[in-house]
Every structure is written in C-alpha cells, then in structure tokens.
Symmetry: C2
Subunit: 358 residues, 2 copies
C-alpha cells in the first residue's frame, strides 16, 4: 500500500501466521494484545502465540459475529489493555474476519489516542477488503460503521491456509467483494472470474492468491489516490448503500456483509439498466457470476421500498444534496451518481420487473 | 494555531458566542449539533442558537462533570446525531468546559470516521488548555483519557464573558494550568502572574484576556512543534501524572482537574528540589503562587505512596522503560525525566519532610 508515511506491506500466501520474521519489523515494544473471536481462537491463536513467543502476548476473545461489533464489546478490548497496563508502545493484533479487524483497528486508533496494530485476516472477505484501506469502527443500532476512525495497520498477513476452515457461505461472501473490484474498474478481472469461479470456489491456492492480490491492488490503487473518500474511493461502495440497508433492516448478522453487497450490486446493476446506462447483456453476466459464486441477488421479502429509503437516508454517502449512489456504465466502469431518477430507484427497491425491450 | 493543513483560529474576548460571522467560515453544511451540559445550557445555549439561526441546530445536553466523561455518555451524542440523520458535512459545537470539549471532540473524531467541530470553551481551564491542541477523548474506569483521538477543531471562540458565571473553585482550577505555562517555559509570565494574581482572581477582563492569550500561545508553540507528543509536548504534562493519579484515586469529579494538577506541580517541584535540581526558594515561590490562586498543594490523605505508584503505572507517559516524569530545573525550565531517584519519589509521594538544609 502506498500511502506516503503510512505505507504498509501486505503479504499473501499459505502459512504466513507462523512466520515470526514477518511480524518483527512492525512491533515496537514488548506488549502484544491478540484480539480474536471464539471461532478463530481455537484454530489459529496458538500458531500466532508460538510465532511471538519472544513477546508478552495477552489476548481477548470476543463473541463471533457482526451482531457484536458495537461499543459494549469494543470496551472489552479497552478493559483487557488497561487491566494488563498496556502502554503506548503496545501492538494490537487482529486475528479474524472483518469484524475483528474493524474493532481491533478502532481500539488501536483510540487507545491512548492511537497505538500500532497488525491485521491477520482469516476470512476471504477480510483478506480482500477490510484489511486494506485503514477503515476501522463499530456499528450503532441506527447505522452500520457509524462510529469509527481511519487508522492504518503496520502490516497485513493474509494467510491463505486459514481459508480452508471457512464455511462455503463465508467463502462466497468474500467472493462478492472480489467481483466488486472487477465491476468497479477491471473488466478483464471480471472476465477472469467468469472463467475461474469453479477453482475459486474449490479454494485452489494459486487462484486464491491471484484473486486476493489483484483485489488488494485494485483497492490499494483507489485508496492511495483518495485516502479520505472524497472522490474515487466512493466507488468501493458499489452495492454497499443497498447492502448496508439490508444488513441493518434484517438485523446485523442475519445476512453476511458479502451477501448483502452482492444483492446491492445486483440492485445497482438493475437501476443502472433502467436508466439505459448499463446493457441488459451486462446485467445478465453480473447476475450469472453472482449465481455461480453462490450469492443472493434479490433483497429480502421483509423490506419494501419505504424501509430501504428510510435506512439509506442515514448512509454515510448521504449529504445535504441527497443520496449519492454508485452505479454502472459498463462492467468495469462505475460512477458516483446523484442524478438518478427517484421513480426508477423505487422500482428497483420494489423489485418491479424491468422492461427488457429497450 | 499553526499546524499546517489543520491550522485554526482561536478568538479570545467578551461576547464572542453571539458573533455569527465568527462561526460561518467554519461550517460546511446545514446541520449543527450543539453539545453542552445541564449547567451551561440554560446560561448560553440560546445565545449560540440565536447566532446560528440560519442553520438546523439540534442539541444534546449531557450531565455535568468529569464523572460523566465515559463511553456511555458519549453514546448519547452518537444517538442524537443518528436520530437526526446527521451526515458527514455536519458540525458539532462543544459549549462547555473541558469535559464537553473532550467528548464532543471525540464524537466528532469518530462519527462517520470524522466530522467538523467548533470549540466554545466556557471555563477558564478549557480556554487555556483543553480547547487547544486537538486532544479528545473519554475516561475509562481504569484510567483517565485512556480512550481518545487527535482531532483539531475548525475554530475556537473563547468568550471571556462566560467566565463571570464560573464559581471561584473552577476559576482557580483554570489558573492552575495558566501557572503551568509559566513553570514550563516562561519565567517572565510566572512573574507576571505573581504580580497580577489578584486581578486575575477578580476576573479583570484585560488581565484574563492577556493570561488566556499568553497561555494559548505557549501551548500552541509547543504543540505546533510536536503535535503527536513524542518530545517537547510531554512538558505540558507537568503535574499531570501525579494529578491524574489523584483524580482517579479519589473518583472522577471529587477533585477538579486543575486542583489535581496544582498539587501535582507542587509534588513535581518537591521531587525536583529533593534531587537538588530546583532551588528551595523557587519551591517556595511556586507554593506561594498556588496558595494565592486558591489551589491545593498537598495530596489527599486517602492516597499513600503505594496507591500513587499503582495508578501512575498505567499513565500514558509510562512505557517499556518505566515512568517518565516532568520535573523542573528552575521556574520556566521543565524537563522530561526518567533518571529520578525511586526513593526520593517515594518520599514525595509519602509527603516526607524535605531536608531544607542543603
């Protein structure tokens, strides 16, 4: 990642969790707080502890799931840091998926006004998305990721071996974000994914490494150009405004983030096609790739257009000029858009059949 | 304040709260959240609302006092922002003392990963200290200001008229921080305070403005040279390591911050004199000025040396190499110090009589 002073390395490959030499250059003091969850701890905490046997390693094990990404659970990390009298030279290590990364990262951003942290993402979603870019935070009952900070990790170790223990639903959720990078700005990568979805779903190591690398590069390029999300970084939110509404509307944790984003991308494609910006043939390719990845493309029956609009109104992409959406002109060509048609948006939200005969 | 991109104006004078033109250049959107407390709201909230009648002004009124500077009360600010669907272009306005400034500032630092805020400090302490420098945060039961972020306000309006409603204990607490600037690096200012303490305590406007200006300049010079507290900024913590221990040890809110800092400065002077670094005549001048300001200089009976050391061990100035203290070589000459004598520290903490005959 090239972010001036805050650049950091992202290593991708099998077995990296155990490689002491990859951690050492990024740890300033002696105190390490391993932040993980009940699912991941029994699988990988020992490997990390063994790699870091030269340090004082304490740990805090959080309950697993998006439902626990809140201020109360965050406070368990502060408690652990203070009970162990951790100082400003300490380092937090996030071992887990995006929820753990976001919470440990936010704890690191705010403990004593900022300490170091290292990301060890163990889900595909976290490896391709949340471990890159420095966004950290927790949810609020009224909105996802509403409380947070920008705080870059010292390094990221994406150990592909950890993906072998991921259930297939979680794997698909990660693939949703990979598809997103193709849709945003890389038509060639989208075509690669159409050709290689089977290998990806079968967790072929070389395919995984390539897909993760290309995704991280895609994200890094966008973030480096626009760290604070004033412009181009907003494209990374393709599918997210719809998706966050689904996550909030159905209760955090019922839909996986990647599943909600997949559906959100299908909705963005649908809305783009209603305006004549995106070909219907491209909509069909998008729907087909999402289906091949095992991802949903239709919002839950429990949410009507009104509920969507209510939840989308508090989205971070909303400002005084209304709600901006990320829409598509083509596969590989996304745009930030405020001048969409409100009636067409409503048709998408209400799942009205699109007129194909254009 | 000169902090490169993040420079901001500090205006000092009577009646500033009502001057619309001072706010306008610093407000980006239409949405303003006035964060204040139960004591200050009835006195000054209307003046601020009237000045900002062209905007959508919502407000959140928190309970008053250091005891409420915690994550739970912070959450009330997030609740108000989200219930009112405030977006990223919103602006928080902190109307109150240091607690309100720290909490509103931290809410601004973390709401949607960072929005604007303006400081309207209404206590002398906040006007000379907490509104300058960008430190924001809340307390944790195990340590003061342990959760926080660096976030600079867009501007500070220090309205000296608000000091007329301050009780004399709060006024003295603010004077403690003013004395601190003299002690750290400005012997001439210390002498000015010796000459003008009576006018300051009588709230003479010209004396107040001069003392606030010189204090802010002192702090701004130090902060500008060292925004992240790696070196010289640490001097601003003179009296604070002892003081924080007193505040935590006696329960937040029983000792005012300025009172605890005053006692901490007297303890730092005592410890410096035990080493022979500070003249006993200077110790006497310091004690006399603190007394003239109506400030305590002796720690509470409830705290022995052991309790002090326990609480000081989690101080942010502690690192892997032990606890650094800010000590004095002379009035106007402070230093960061790790090589003090542990036995002498214990004598200071236990209030052993100092051997004057050196």
């Amino acid at each position: 990642m090239e972010l001036g002073e805050r650049s950091y390395p992202i290593h991708i490959g099998p077995g990296l969790l155990s490689e002491t030499a990859l951690y050492e250059p990024h740890i300033r003091g002696r105190q390490i707080m391993l932040v993980t969850n009940e699912t991941v701890a029994p699988l990988y905490a020992d490997a990390v502890r063994n790699a870091l046997s030269a340090y004082q390693v304490e740990s805090v094990v959080l309950p697993d799931g998006e439902a626990f990404k809140n201020l109360d659970v965050l406070n368990l990390i502060y408690d652990a840091l203070l009970k162990n009298r951790f100082n400003r030279n300490c380092c937090l290590i996030a071992l887990g998926g995006g929820v753990i990364g976001d919470m440990a990262g936010f704890a690191a951003a705010t403990y004593q006004r900022g300490v170091d942290f290292i990301q060890l993402p163990t889900t595909l979603l976290a490896q391709v998305d949340s471990s890159v870019g420095g966004k950290t935070g927790v949810n609020h009952p009224l909105g996802k990721n509403m409380i947070g900070a920008f705080h870059q990790p010292r390094c990221v170790l994406a150990d592909t071996t950890t993906l072998n223990t991921l259930d297939s639903r979680q794997l698909s959720a990660g693939i949703a974000e990979i598809i997103k990078y193709g849709l945003i700005g890389d038509a060639e990568f989208f075509a690669y994914l159409e050709q290689n979805m089977e290998q990806l779903k079968n967790r072929d190591t070389a395919t995984l490494i390539y897909a993760i690398e290309r995704s991280c590069q895609c994200k890094a390029d966008i973030v480096a150009a626009d760290e604070r999300e004033s412009g181009r970084r907003a494209l990374l939110n393709l599918g997210h405004t719809f998706g966050h509404a689904i996550e909030t509307g159905t209760g955090y944790g019922n839909w996986l983030h990647g599943e909600a984003v997949a559906t959100g991308m299908a909705m963005a494609a649908d809305l783009s096609a209603r305006h004549g910006w995106l070909d219907h043939a491209d909509v069909a390719r998008i729907d087909a790739l999402l289906a091949a990845a095992g991802l949903p493309a239709t919002p839950p029956d429990s949410m009507n257009g009104e509920r969507f609009l209510e939840l989308m109104a508090v989205d971070k992409k909303a400002d005084d000029h209304g709600l901006r959406l990320i829409l598509l002109d083509a596969i590989g060509q996304a745009k930030v858009c405020s001048d969409y048609d409100g009636e067409m948006l409503n048709e998408t939200l209400e799942r009205k059949p699109a007129a194909i005969s254009s």
